[in-house]
C-alpha cells in the first residue's frame, strides 16, 4: 500500500502555505483535508474543473424532453377527449415538462456529485479524525523514503503541529 506524508495544522493559512510549498517542490497534487471549505484554495492548488454543471444541464434537458414525451405520448396512446380540449394540450403539458426538467436536473446533479467527488469510498483512504473537528491536514503521496523525508521537511518548515505517515490511497 502507498505511504503518504500527512501534516496536521491548526490554521487553514498554514495548511495552504504547506500545500503550496509541496506543489512548488514537485509533489503531485497535494490534498488538503479540512473541517470547513477553505477560501482561496484554488489559487494555491489550481482551479478545479467540475463536471457537475454538465450533468445538471443535460439531466434537465433530458427531463424536459422526457416530460413532454410522457405527457403527449400517453395522451396519444390513450385518447380521452374532455371539455373540447386538444389531445396534445400545450399549457398543461408544459407544467409536466417543467416538473420533470427539475426532477431529472436534480437527480443528474447528484450523479455528477457522486462521480466528481469519487464517493462513496470503498477502499481505505488517507484520513485522520481530527480533520472533522478543528485540524487542517495536508497530505501527499510519497513513492519512496527519500520523497517521504522531503515532504516531512517541507511540512515541518510550514509549521505543522504533527506529522504522520499514513497508509491508504489519496
Amino acid at each position: 500500500m502507498a505511504t503518504n506524508a500527512l501534516g496536521l495544522f491548526n490554521a487553514p493559512s498554514s495548511a495552504l502555505e504547506a500545500a503550496g510549498a509541496l506543489k512548488g517542490a514537485g509533489f503531485d497534487s497535494p490534498t488538503v483535508i479540512s473541517p470547513i471549505p477553505i477560501h482561496g484554495i484554488d489559487e494555491v492548488l489550481g482551479k478545479k474543473k467540475s463536471i457537475i454543471k454538465r450533468f445538471t444541464f443535460f439531466g434537465a434537458l433530458f427531463g424536459g424532453i422526457a416530460g413532454f414525451a410522457l405527457a403527449a405520448g400517453t395522451a396519444v396512446m390513450y385518447i380521452h377527449a374532455t371539455g373540447g380540449r386538444p389531445i396534445i394540450a400545450i399549457p398543461p403539458f408544459l407544467i409536466i415538462t417543467y416538473e420533470l426538467t427539475i426532477l431529472c436536473g436534480i437527480l443528474a446533479t447528484v450523479l455528477g456529485f457522486i462521480l466528481g467527488s469519487r464517493l462513496p469510498a470503498f477502499k481505505n483512504r488517507v484520513y485522520v479524525p481530527e480533520v472533522a473537528v478543528d485540524k487542517f491536514a495536508v497530505t501527499v503521496l510519497c513513492e519512496d523514503p527519500e520523497r517521504l523525508k522531503r515532504a516531512h521537511d517541507i511540512l515541518q518548515s510550514s509549521g505543522a503541529e504533527e506529522i504522520r505517515e499514513v497508509e491508504g490511497e489519496q
Binding site: S14, S50, L103, L119, V126, D134, G159
Partner: protein
C-alpha cells in the same frame, strides 16, 4: 451568526451530545406524539377505511373538506424550509447557517404528512398507484391535463428534491459524527457519510452541486404551491376561480412556513440547548421576514375581496358574503386577527428579539393559516351558483381527529430526525466563526 466565543471542538461536542444524550423529557414527548398519531390518525383512518369515506363529513356539494385543508396547510408549512434555505444560500446569508438544517427537515416531514393527507382523502388509497404513469394491461394512462396530475408530479419532485437537498448538505456532518460514535450509530453514519473526508476536491464538488440544487429548488418550490392552488383555481367554483390564487398560495405558504421555523427554532434552542448557536439575530431576521410576508398576505387578501366585489356577479357576492358573514364568518375574522393584525407587533425590534412572544405569535399565525385553508375549502363549495345546489359542511369527528393526528405524526417524525441528523450544520456554523490563526512559534521548526 453563532456566538463568536465558541470553539470548533465545542460545536462538535454540542451536536454529538444532541444526538447521543437523550433525556427523559425527549422520551415522554416521543411517547405522547406516537400515542397521538395512533389514536388520532391511524385509528380513525382505519375506521374510515373499514366503514367508508362516509365517516368523513364530506358530501355533495362540499366534496373537499379538512383533509384537503390539512393537505394545503402541510404543503404550505413545507415551503419555508427548503425554499428559504436555498434562497439564503444563493444570497450568501450567514445567519441561515445555524437554522437551515431543521428548517429543511421541517419541509421534508411536512411534505410527507401532506402526502398522507391525500391518501386519507382519496378514500380508496389502495388504488393510488393509478396516478402513476406505468404501462398496464388496460392500456390506460393518467390524464396529464388534470391539475391533480400536476400535483402528483410536483409533489413527487419536491419530496425527492427536498430529501436530496437536506441529505447532501449533511454528508460532511455525518462524517464528523461518524468519528465520534460507536455501535449501530457508527455503522449508520459510515453508510450515510459515503466515506466523506473533507478533501479540497470533495468540498469543491459539494459547493457546486449544492448551489445547482438550490438554483433548481427555488423555482420548484414556487411551482409546487402554485400547482396546489390550481387544484382549486382551475375549477369554475366562485371564490376559487381566481387568477390571484397562485401568488396567494405561495405567499401564504412562505408565511406559514416561516412561522413554523420560528416555532421549531424556539424548541430546538430551548430543549437541545443550542442557546449559543441560535441567537436573537435569527429571531430578529425571521421576525422581519414574517412581517413582510404578513403584509403581502394581507394585501393579497384585500385584492381577492376587491376583485370579487368589483365583479358584481351574484355568485361571487354570495360566496364572499358567506365567507365574511356566514356560518364560518367568526373564523374569517379570527384569521384576519391572527394573520393580518397580530403580526404588526413585529414592527417592534424588542418583540422580534423576545423568544416567548415570538413563539406565541408563530403558533397564532399558523392557527390563522390553518383557518385560511379551511375557509378556502369550506366556504366556497357550499355556495355554488344555484341556491338549490347549496349545502353546508361541518367536519366530522373522524376528520377532526385525523387533523390533530397529523400534528402528532409530524412531531414524531421530527423527534426521530433530531436524534439521527445533526440538527445544526456543523461545518457551516464553523464557517461563521473567526478563522483559526497559526499559533506563534518560538522555534520555526525547520531542521
Amino acid at each position: 451568526m453563532a456566538n463568536q466565543d465558541i470553539s470548533f471542538a465545542q460545536i462538535n461536542d454540542d451536536v454529538v451530545r444532541s444526538l447521543v444524550v437523550t433525556g427523559r423529557k425527549y422520551y415522554i414527548t416521543l411517547a405522547i406524539s406516537i400515542l397521538v398519531t395512533f389514536t388520532c390518525f391511524v385509528g380513525p383512518w382505519f375506521y374510515q377505511l373499514r366503514y367508508g369515506i362516509g365517516a368523513a363529513g364530506m358530501n355533495h356539494p362540499t366534496v373537499w373538506g379538512t383533509y384537503l385543508a390539512s393537505f394545503i396547510f402541510w404543503i404550505g408549512l413545507s415551503h419555508s424550509g427548503t425554499l428559504l434555505s436555498a434562497v439564503l444560500h444563493l444570497t450568501n446569508s450567514e445567519w441561515r447557517k445555524a437554522m437551515y438544517r431543521s428548517a429543511e427537515a421541517m419541509t421534508l416531514f411536512s411534505v410527507m404528512v401532506a402526502a398522507m393527507m391525500v391518501m386519507v382523502h382519496v378514500g380508496r388509497p389502495w388504488f393510488v398507484h393509478w396516478a402513476v404513469p406505468y404501462p398496464n394491461q388496460m392500456e390506460m394512462w393518467p390524464n396529464f391535463r388534470s391539475p391533480l396530475m400536476f400535483d402528483v408530479m410536483a409533489i413527487t419532485t419536491y419530496m425527492t428534491g427536498s430529501i436530496i437537498f437536506i441529505y447532501m448538505g449533511t454528508i460532511p456532518d455525518f462524517a464528523a459524527v461518524r468519528d465520534r460514535t460507536t455501535g449501530w450509530r457508527h455503522h449508520m453514519y459510515v453508510l450515510l457519510s459515503l466515506g466523506w473526508r473533507g478533501t479540497d476536491t470533495e468540498w469543491n464538488r459539494l459547493h457546486w452541486a449544492y448551489t445547482f440544487l438550490a438554483v433548481l429548488i427555488v423555482p420548484l418550490a414556487v411551482s409546487v404551491h402554485s400547482i396546489v392552488s390550481w387544484d382549486f383555481a382551475l375549477s369554475v367554483v366562485p371564490a376559487l376561480h381566481q387568477t390571484i390564487f397562485a401568488p396567494y398560495f405561495v405567499v401564504g405558504a412562505i408565511y406559514s412556513g416561516t412561522a413554523g421555523i420560528v416555532t421549531v427554532m424556539f424548541v430546538l434552542r430551548k430543549y437541545m440547548k443550542f442557546e449559543h448557536l441560535i441567537t436573537k439575530l435569527h429571531f430578529d431576521n425571521l421576525g422581519k421576514l414574517l412581517l413582510v410576508m404578513s403584509l403581502l398576505w394581507t394585501y393579497i387578501n384585500m385584492v381577492e375581496l376587491f376583485t370579487g366585489w368589483y365583479s358584481e356577479s351574484s355568485e361571487e357576492y354570495e360566496a364572499l358574503n358567506f365567507r365574511l358573514f356566514g356560518f364560518y364568518g367568526p373564523l374569517y375574522w379570527e384569521m384576519i386577527l391572527f394573520c393580518a393584525l397580530a403580526p404588526l407587533l413585529l414592527i417592534s425590534k424588542r418583540f422580534r428579539t423576545s423568544f416567548v412572544p415570538m413563539l406565541i405569535l408563530s403558533i397564532v399565525i399558523n392557527i390563522g393559516m390553518y383557518t385560511e385553508r379551511f375557509l378556502i375549502v369550506a366556504t366556497s363549495l357550499p355556495r355554488q351558483y344555484l341556491p338549490d345546489a347549496w349545502g353546508m359542511y361541518v367536519p366530522s369527528l373522524v376528520e377532526i381527529a385525523i387533523m390533530v393526528g397529523s400534528f402528532g405524526m409530524f412531531t414524531t417524525l421530527f423527534l426521530v430526525f433530531v436524534k439521527i441528523f445533526p440538527s445544526i450544520s456543523l461545518y457551516e456554523v464553523k464557517e461563521t466563526l473567526p478563522e483559526p490563526q497559526p499559533k506563534p512559534q518560538a522555534d520555526s521548526g525547520a531542521p
